[in-house]
């Protein structure tokens, strides 16, 4: 029997989750599903799926990459093997982890094989699904189905049939008297699955540091020894900049290895999660360091100047804290409040830009408005982040 340890994160799609019913303002721009023809829907969604792979640990203690479809490049394979908890010496067993490498999202589900089964000599196995999009719930559900099939039949062929069915039709039969439909897993649900209120309750006013860093596209590194906590926390952070809806900055599970760090450095701004505490010594990798178990946020020296905060930030901070503390408001409403405020600031910025020629902001133009220095600094860097600055 497969069980999930984390209750809040990956809700079963058939029961309504805590953020029940996406509020209308969130689902404005999603395309209405074409009636009837399943092929239409599948076309846009399934082209995100890239490959599926199988890692097994046997009675000899070896962990081998035994099978994949269609193919996985060798460097990605190395990274995936390092992420799979079966290759790590520690006894921790992580049922579900996900992360990003070279703009590919990977989702790894690990299962312990219980007797009796068609698989002999295998003690544990992991199923790796790689895809272009961020949707942990969808791929977790898919992986569960594939795992069950693999255990039942002992051969990856049946598993592959299900995968190909999902690839071509966007749905497949699961052996639990139901079916897995891709359209049940809207990407917005994935974006909203985390809890902003938890973040704000842990950090209070310091949440404004995270907000500023995300708005200015800075590099944030989060550390926690437990991977599940890391995944849960980091996936929430991009919701603070809801107007961008960009989860490609999220690298929730990174090790301190050269290929991964090279890949990380290619992104100008990111939110990266590390299990290894050594990362706090790598000052070249971050502008903001979040020590999650201790609840401490540090800004690195080189970024202090651009992250200077003033009255504007205080206001935003108060707004965030107030909105989160209100027990009546749900997570998505808190996100809405924050994004309303963000839109306000951006509208002001756009207004400033329109006043200048070729609607681009310059530092001199900002100086003319005599903002307080922290606000001016923030607006300057924000203009650069939003690509409104004249080059």
């Amino acid at each position: 029997m497969l069980t999930f340890q984390e209750s809040g994160c990956y809700p079963d799609p058939r029961c309504p989750g805590p953020s029940a019913g996406t509020p209308p303002w969130l689902s404005q721009s999603s395309p209405p599903p074409a009636s009837g023809n399943v092929w239409n829907m599948a076309a846009t969604e399934t082209q995100f799926m890239l490959s599926v792979g199988l890692i097994e640990k046997d009675v000899n203690g070896d962990t081998l990459w035994v099978w994949c479809f269609p193919s996985v490049a060798s460097d990605l394979r190395k990274v995936l093997l390092s992420k799979c908890c079966l290759t790590q010496d520690a006894r921790d067993f992580h049922t579900f982890v996900f992360g990003q490498f070279c703009r590919t999202w990977y989702y790894i589900t690990t299962v312990e094989v219980q007797e009796p089964t068609a698989l002999n000599k295998v003690t544990h196995f992991s199923i790796v699904v790689t895809a272009k999009d961020f949707n942990p719930e969808k791929y977790a559900a898919l992986s569960r189905i594939l795992c069950r099939m693999y255990i039942k039949h002992g051969s990856p062929v049946k598993m592959m049939e299900a995968y190909v069915t999902v690839l071509t039709k966007g749905m497949c039969q699961s052996d639990e008297n139901g079916s897995f439909l891709i359209k049940d897993y809207d990407v917005r649900k994935a974006y909203l699955a985390g809890s902003v209120k938890d973040v704000v309750s842990q950090f209070g006013m310091e949440t404004i540091i995270l907000y500023t860093a995300l708005m200015l596209k800075k590099r944030i590194i989060v550390h926690h020894p437990r991977i599940e906590a890391l995944l849960e926390f980091t996936r929430v952070l991009p919701t603070l900049t809801w107007h961008r809806k960009d989860w490609s900055i999220l690298h929730p599970y990174v090790h301190l290895s050269d290929p991964e760090l090279e890949d990380l450095k290619k992104c100008p701004g990111y939110v990266a999660g590390f299990v290894d505490p050594e990362v706090s010594n790598r000052l070249d990798l971050f502008d903001v360091y979040v020590n999650l178990p201790d609840g401490v946020i540090t800004v690195s020296q080189s970024a202090k100047e651009s992250m200077a905060m003033g009255k504007l930030h205080k206001d935003i901070g108060h707004l965030i804290v107030q909105s989160a503390e209100d027990a009546e408001r749900s997570d998505s409403q808190v996100i809405k409040d924050i994004s309303v405020k963000t839109k306000e600031i951006l509208a002001n910025l756009m207004a400033l830009a329109d006043k200048c020629e070729d609607s681009k902001i310059t530092l001199e133009g900002l100086k003319q408005h005599h903002f307080p220095p922290a606000t001016e600094n923030f607006l300057f860097h924000l203009a650069a982040a939003e690509q409104l600055l004249r080059i």
Binding site: W39, D58, D62, F69, S155, M160, E161, P268, L389, I391
Partner: protein
């Protein structure tokens, strides 16, 4: 003879002479071979002497004669004492050749063990390890991409290749003035802020390129210095520092000379910095001029001194603080100094403002750079996505005219491909599953064998220990045996062993008999005692019964009373009798003991007396 010949021929083969396999002795060597062998040996023994010697005999007679004499001369130079001349090589003679070859082979330097020559030390060990690793990597042959095994992935895959991009590195020992320590600020900078060499390049992969370039530059600079020092420096008979400082002064003068000659046409006493175009003209003039030695060498001493005096003024003008002429008045000096101070302050202010501007520019640049990079990245991603979408839409448009039909065909195609792929997967599974099983099985066998072998090793170890212990025991026992044997030999031989053994055996027999008698007596005594006990018991019981009976009747009858009294008295007397007998026995025992004691005392008493 044969042995000697074999050794000689083996040595010649090692030197490099092509001796065929079946020449077993010296007399089979032809003239050419002899010449070749001798020449090669001499080359190895003394390269300077042997290099002009030819290894083959030329055809002409006079040439041969010359070659022969030169070989003979060379042999004599090395130290061959025997008679040798051109005839030894041209008209060879077996014993002579043998002795010559023996001499040469003995002279060949022995191969010394490499390890004893080379110094040890951690850095040498590391260098050797690096050399070994590189050698191993270079020894791996190049394979085309499809044939590569994972062990080639590191060195041969395209991922391993990087462009050779090199830029200068800053190293702490580079900034040196001859003989003076760097400034404290520079030292602080080098200690605290300057990143290590591996962090200085912008890409981690370019570290190798940077280091190779830096090393090559340093190496060539060192070699050039060596060459120069060995050729000119030693001749000048100066120490290296003096030579360097003189060279520096010389070069400085040359530069000043050039600048002066180029600056003279323009306004003299020109203070401020020259514009870029003037500088490039200057450099052009400098480059285009004839080698500088001419400038100094041409002309008489007079013109030289003239030029030198002239250099001082404009040099002062260009390089800043002027050397005050001796015969100027004090106030003038002070005025001039104040003016200088003002101008310097102005320059300083100017520099500060420039610095601030630059800092602001840099900040702006950094931010805009980030924005541009970000935009670029987004556009690139957008481009690739759009390209894919376009491809898809293009294909869809091509299929649109006959939409329904094509849709059906496409569905059928997709289903067919899906089925085919699943089919292929099942076929692959048929191959894969046995292979994986085989792998696992072999791994298991391997680990079992490991267990077995480790168990056997431990068994062997314990056996070894046991053997060791047993050998020690055996040795010890041997020694004891030897000791006892010697002791036995030293013992007196007069008493015969058999007499002793007879006596011992007799004594043992006697003792045995006595033991038997004692046991018999003891058992008799026990029997007697038992009898006594039972009789006493019977007596007591009988008396008790009789006593009771009689007493019962004694109350009534007088005669019974009297008989009762007689019974009691009888019993009493018999008891006394028995008591007396027992006492007698005890006393007899005491007498015996005392007699024994007296017997023992007797010898000591007599000795006292």
């Amino acid at each position: 003879m044969e042995e000697v010949d074999k050794i000689l021929i083996h040595a010649l083969k090692q030197v490099g002479t092509e001796v065929s396999e079946d020449t077993a002795s010296v007399k089979h060597l032809t003239g050419e071979l002899i010449v070749e062998a001798v020449a090669r040996c001499i080359r190895v023994i003394d390269p300077g002497l042997g290099s002009p010697l030819p290894t083959s005999l030329p055809p002409g007679m006079s040439a041969r004669f010359r070659v022969g004499t030169s070989l003979a001369q060379a042999c004599q130079d090395i130290g061959y004492k025997g008679e040798i001349g051109y005839q030894t090589f041209l008209y060879s003679n077996e014993p002579e050749i043998r002795s010559l070859l023996m001499f040469l082979v003995e002279k060949l330097p022995r191969e010394r063990a490499e390890a004893s020559d080379q110094p040890t030390g951690k850095s040498v060990v590391l260098q050797r390890a690096v050399a070994a690793a590189i050698k191993a990597q270079l020894a791996v042959p190049w394979l085309p991409p499809n044939c590569r095994l994972p062990l080639h992935a590191e060195t041969q895959s395209p991922v391993a290749l990087h462009c050779f991009h090199a830029q200068p590195l800053s190293l702490p020992h580079c900034s040196k003035g001859p003989g003076k320590d760097p400034l404290r600020e520079v030292q602080d900078y080098q200690r605290e802020i300057l990143p290590p060499v591996t962090a200085q390049p912008s890409h981690h992969a370019s570290v190798v390129a940077y280091i190779l370039e830096q090393h090559a530059a340093e190496l060539s600079a060192a070699q050039e210095w060596d060459n120069e020092w060995n050729s000119q420096g030693l001749l000048s008979r100066l120490t290296p520092q003096e030579y360097r400082s003189r060279k520096l002064i010389r070069l400085r003068k040359r530069v000043e000379e050039q600048l002066h000659s180029a600056a003279l046409p323009s306004a003299e006493g020109d203070f401020g910095p020259r514009s870029t175009s003037d500088l490039s003209d200057l450099l052009q003039a400098f480059r285009g001029s004839t080698p500088s030695d001419h400038i100094l060498a041409k002309g008489s001493n007079f013109t030289h001194t003239q030029k030198f005096t002239f250099t001082q003024q404009p040099a002062a003008a260009v390089t800043g603080p002027s050397v005050p002429a001796g015969h100027q008045s004090e106030s003038d000096v002070q005025l001039r100094q104040q003016e200088e101070q003002l101008s310097l302050q102005q320059q300083f202010q100017h520099l500060c403002s420039e610095f601030e501007e630059l800092a602001a520019d840099m900040k702006h640049m950094r931010v805009t750079n980030a924005q541009v990079l970000d935009e670029l990245k987004q556009r690139e991603l957008g481009n690739s996505e759009n390209e894919e979408k376009m491809q898809l839409k293009k294909k869809t448009i091509d299929l649109l005219p006959d939409a329904d039909n094509n849709l059906l065909k496409l569905q059928a195609l997709v289903e067919a491909s899906a089925n085919r792929v699943v089919n292929l997967a099942s076929q692959w599974e048929k191959h894969r599953a046995p292979l994986i099983d085989e792998h696992r099985r072999l791994k298991e066998i391997c680990s079992n064998q490991d267990l077995e072998s480790s168990r056997k090793l431990s068994e062997m170890k314990s056996l070894h220990d046991k053997i060791r212990v047993s050998t020690e025991e055996a040795k010890r026992k041997e020694e004891i045996y030897k000791q006892l044997v010697t002791e036995l030999e030293n013992l007196p031989q007069d008493a015969s062993r058999s007499a002793y053994t007879q006596r011992i055996l007799e004594i043992v027999n006697n003792i045995q008999k006595q033991k038997e008698e004692i046991t018999k007596i003891l058992s008799d005594t026990k029997e007697l005692q038992k009898e006594i006990n039972s009789l006493t018991g019977k007596l007591d019981r009988t008396f008790a019964v009789t006593d009771e009976l009689v007493f019962k009747d004694a109350k009534k009858d007088e005669s019974v009373r009297k008989s009762y009294k007689y019974l009691a008295a009888l019993h009493e007397n018999c008891n006394q009798l028995i008591q007396t007998i027992e006492d007698t026995g005890t006393i007899l025992r005491e007498i015996r003991d005392l007699e024994e004691q007296a017997m023992l005392m007797l010898p000591s008493v007599t000795s006292h007396q």
